[in-house]
């Protein structure tokens, strides 16, 4: 609608003592879009959220949200944003209803409106049955839904979600994605931080990959994947001794550098038009008498993007649901 982005950050810097959390962060999100800020723990994601939601002042740089300066117009801004964090920031000893009513009052709604809004949100988030129970008795997914409901009391045009699905089970995660999609469809601008590449891929219009306090790449998921190149053929040979023979057999089809992982008996081959070559490759491997355990053609993941951009894996363990093969691959020199 307006030309002005709903979220704009320019050259944000923040230091904690000697630690540099943000080193000149630039971000922008169009109104009604989803911007995912993707990066490992300690990349500066939460610091960015805290600055954009007025909780923290930047040391340098400036930022605007919904056209309001996060420092100068902080008070006015707080009425137009919602924040849901990685820890459900709700009161355990209050009921779901009491929490939402209290936050409504603290948003300076009248008692009547705050109570009505609490009931509406409880209904929409499927919490009506649990509304009169203290939050202590809620499951992790229910707490997260209540936390999100609390951030939506004012129907904010801009919503900040700091790792909204961290710690949720797959069902809880899908439910959260569904809600986010609905909000976006209704025109909410969403600023999302995540460690999950799949989440950014699913939800985001634009992704900013953040590392060490600055953006190291940005674009749509497809654009980022293109930076890494085309498809890759991944194969696992049945016998470790066959790896060399396999390399010889597939090298003619490769469009770039082969990656060999001896420990896992794996070979990754960048290919230009994988699907068309697949049959030929299989025939050649068969002719070379190399039995396979596994053969897969896959598009690059954001994990590959991160690895390519930083030269290291994003984090160990909790990053991607894809095969971790690329993290341990040894580059083949020949």
């Amino acid at each position: 609608m307006s030309n002005r982005p709903a979220i704009l950050a320019e050259g944000l810097q923040k230091h904690y003592g000697k630690t540099r959390a943000l080193a000149g962060l630039d971000l922008a999100a169009e109104e009604g879009s989803v911007l995912a800020v993707l990066g490992p723990n300690g990349a500066g994601k939460t610091t960015a959220v805290r600055i954009l939601t007025t909780l923290l002042r930047p040391d340098a740089g400036r930022a605007e949200v919904a056209g309001l300066d996060v420092v100068k117009d902080a008070d006015a801004l707080r009425a137009c944003i919602g924040l849901a964090g990685q820890y459900a920031a709700i009161d355990e000893n209050l009921t779901g209803y009491e929490n939402l009513e209290m936050f409504g009052r603290l948003y300076h709604l009248s008692g009547t409106v705050a109570r009505r809004r609490a009931n509406e949100l409880l209904e929409r988030f499927d919490l009506l049955e649990a509304a009169r129970r203290t939050v202590k008795t809620y499951s992790g997914g229910m707490r997260r839904r209540l936390d999100l409901a609390a951030s939506l009391i004012m129907s904010p045009p801009v919503l900040f979600l700091d790792e909204p699905t961290t710690g949720l089970d797959p069902r809880g995660r899908l439910a959260m994605w569904e809600v986010i999609s609905i909000l976006v469809a209704e025109g909410t601008t969403v600023f999302l931080t995540t460690q999950y590449l799949e989440e950014a891929d699913q939800l985001a219009d634009q992704i900013a990959v953040v590392d060490l306090g600055r953006v190291i790449a940005r674009g749509t998921a497809d654009e980022l994947k293109t930076q890494v190149g085309g498809e890759r053929l991944e194969l696992t040979v049945a016998r470790g001794g066959d790896l060399h023979a396999a390399v010889q057999a597939v090298r003619p089809y490769s469009s770039g550098e082969l990656q060999v992982n001896v420990d896992d008996r794996q070979l990754a081959v960048p290919v230009a038009q994988g699907a068309q070559l697949l049959a030929a490759i299989v025939r050649d491997l068969d002719a070379a008498q190399v039995p396979l355990d596994n053969l897969a053609l896959r598009r690059p993941t954001l994990d590959d993007v991160f690895l390519t951009l930083t030269g290291r894996a994003a984090t160990s363990g909790d990053l991607s649901t894809d095969t971790p093969a690329t993290r341990t691959l040894v580059r083949s020199t020949q």
Partner: protein, 272 residues
Amino acid sequence: MSTSDFRAEVLRPQARPRLYWTLADALVLAKRHLIQIPRIPEELVFATIQPVMFVLLFRYVFGGAIAVSGTSYVNYLMAGIFAQTVIFGATSTGIGLATDLQRGLVDRFRSLPMAKSAVLTGRTLSDLVRNTFVVLVMWTVGLLVGFRPQGPFISWVAAGGVLLLTSFAFSWISATIGLLVRSVEAAQSAGFIWLFPLTFASSAFVPTQSMPGWLRAFAEHQPVSLIVNAVRGLLLNQPDATTIWQALAWCVGILVVFIPLAVWAYGRRTAR
């Protein structure tokens, strides 16, 4: 999950003067703390059973061994036990703040267009209300075990006033501690430990005359003794204006120092 419109209407905060919100937001948070008390077993015990235990313990266990002149021990004791209870009760201010910080609730509050001060004033106000309730419970138990206040009713009310001011003042010390330490556990121990010498090395439970000289010098001049003596005078129809003024001066002095300190500690703690 319903797919109905999450953003059906645009809601606007009500426009009211700043001072109105300073009070209204503090009351919303005070209400939050008060409705929790019956739901948290420790809080409930802290607010009811523990003070009653103290009355019974000192009245029946230690009471017989402690000699006071001019009145019965239970009459002597009640002022001390009131003061000790409100002062110990004030530690929950700091523990509550540390808990809210740890759970991320303070961050949520700070992202709302509410009065910043309400996080602190809401806590100290609700603890004041809780302490009022506790004093009334103890007053009743005291009467049941032989406590007979003397003098006019208005002095008893004045004694209550001194106690509540004490409660409020110590809540702000407690708030400062809770905001300076790094964890809820630290808020618990750091909030309590210094109160033991202050309440026991005082005229709360025993006449200071029985203490060795060096301790007596401390006990007779420290604020808890002055507060206890002021309350005791008011309850036993022997009000001493100098002591009352000194007690009030201590409370006001504590507030003057610790309100700004707590506000500073809050700003420092939330700046990252």
